[in-house]
Symmetry: C2
Subunit: 416 residues, 2 copies
Amino acid sequence: MTSEVQQKGKLAKAASYILNIKTTCEKNNALTKIAEQLIIDQDTIIAENAKDLAHGEQQGMPASTLDRIMLNKERVEAMANAIHLLVKLDDPVGSLLERIEKDNGLLIEKRMVPIGVIGMIYEARPNVTVDAATLSLKTGNAVILRGSSSAKFSNIALVATIHRALEKTAIPVDAIQLIEDTNRETAKELFHLKDYLDVLIPRGGKALIDLVVNEATVPVLETGAGNCHIYVDQTADYIKSEKICLNAKTQRPSVCNAAESLLIHPDWFNEHGKQLLSALHQAGVTIIGDEIVCQKLDFAHPAAEEDYATEYLDLKISVKIVENVYEAIEHINKYGTNHSEAIITEDQLVADIFLNSVDAAAVYHNASTRFTDGFEFGYGAEIGISTQKLHARGPMGLPALTSTKYFIHGNGQIRE
Amino acid sequence: MTSEVQQKGKLAKAASYILNIKTTCEKNNALTKIAEQLIIDQDTIIAENAKDLAHGEQQGMPASTLDRIMLNKERVEAMANAIHLLVKLDDPVGSLLERIEKDNGLLIEKRMVPIGVIGMIYEARPNVTVDAATLSLKTGNAVILRGSSSAKFSNIALVATIHRALEKTAIPVDAIQLIEDTNRETAKELFHLKDYLDVLIPRGGKALIDLVVNEATVPVLETGAGNCHIYVDQTADYIKSEKICLNAKTQRPSVCNAAESLLIHPDWFNEHGKQLLSALHQAGVTIIGDEIVCQKLDFAHPAAEEDYATEYLDLKISVKIVENVYEAIEHINKYGTNHSEAIITEDQLVADIFLNSVDAAAVYHNASTRFTDGFEFGYGAEIGISTQKLHARGPMGLPALTSTKYFIHGNGQIRE
């Protein structure tokens, strides 16, 4: 018997060959239809979502998780609006990247093309279902969605809505596949679905991402975990330092581009350390400090080695005194997750050393790490933030969902 | 006890952070020194290579394999000359890809940076050792080389020469690591060396590539296998067809961009099939045909299903009659390896359907598949031909060995 994953993988692959050659106009028309259908179907979607919420409450899920699952009229409308914005974005498919004319008359064109079939494995948030489906469609890709059991009813309802919309369009319904069985085994099948899957993108907590990265043999676009640092250098301006540290830590502590660790030059710490950490403390941040920090401040808690490797995602920050920019770089390259790293300094030379040597998707001089985001960068859409080095690094907009292809136009040319 | 792979992985990673910030001038100087040292050391290198050849002969290796391993004065000089050409190529590291100025004054720059540590696993040819080491160095990457036992003495000698050259330069010797133990286990260790390896590139036969793709959990850049097709359409010009088919099949049958399969429109086959296949036959090509082909030509041998999936790498070609361009596309997307695929037709519309729908790195209209090559495309260097869809597809020049990084320059900006 063929499994659900195999069966839907095969359908998605076949659909990808049709979707692949659809025009921007056909794709945008389908997107608009999906946005409209979401509004038409919103009562059903919200009713199905209520089943997930009831089930989650029964299981004693924390309020924060329930909030991530919850859909109401406002949130469904927000999904529809995001699709209308997506329609307006440029379609990268077909863009000319290189044009080479050879002496023998051969014309070589390198163009952006869809990747093919994208696998998306994610947790909780049902809006990822709509995001992933519509971003894939916009870029001419088929998608296989594998959400979590906690949003099962919501995901089924949302995909049913998408399918209803696509039936009225030139886009094959099979282009969007949802794996309804949320058993662990279906995730594992996706890890090795080489025949049908061109890439697998995990979105969720560190445990999920580690599992995918360590087990999958299909190509993976790693997203997410952000153990971000701010290094406050000897010449850092106090006002900037306080502003940036407060923003990066407290503006939205639960996200991947929030700061988790503060490294401070000893001279600067002697002069301003107490003032800065008191400001953070007063903003509700728990300070987890090294020996020097704990000696100076009675509100600091002692840090263990593992604190430096922890993404708190909470109002909590580790603080360590480092000799200079080189020790800061070494510490970050050891404990960081290659996401977003900042230096605060008035010394351009020190800033350059830091920016060039820290191994991360985004490196900041005198600015908050919170800017690492597809929308902040002006991409208008984001499928995730890549913390790996191949294909895409940092916020991934629509071009990250494309591959390339060489189109070679000849007139009988052969190789001599 | 730490294994050789772990130990050298750690050294390469540490060296990558130093190499990462070296200037183009420092890297080119080191490359020139390597080219010079190859000439100085050539007698030693050739003597060590002779040990590999003697060992291979003892083991009864075929002459073609021995030829791939063999180094003589001419071949060592060719390696040195390739390095002098590499020095002249543009260094992609630091290139500006995007520049975004935000209203709040934040300046976001996306630049090319080295990937970090590249793992290279390959068979026979010792020139890959020098190629991989020097291309990695040019792009600021450290490299871990894992060659085959059949070229063990040659590889050790070549890396010793590279190290001798680097000792006189600003580039850390540790940037180039050779795994000397060619046991199967050291390859497997590389498959999972997540802490130190940013990408693994296999170069060699299908068995090696399949093994790496199916087992590795580190990111892989898949290269190589080419089951390339030529579809001869109803309106194909005869002269072009014969020229292109002969070139693609016979000019160098052992390489990945050689044609392995011919698909022919029935009308065209009735008119020109005998003439074309006789020309191939006379050029020494064994014709493996479907029923229709075998009925018409007594020199054709019957094809089995598996013939359509075989990369012969030999003077042999499978021939199948297909109804039209759509059947050709379906066949290629089923049996092809996403490498290079060609159509011969005078009908631009049919050509466009083919070029857009065939899923391959390079698609040709009225030209030989043999052009898929980094040097033919004018890249001046090639680390391999990618047949996958992420990061790089088709011939990989120097930019394929880079990642990107966002450099964000601020003046105290925070996210509102």
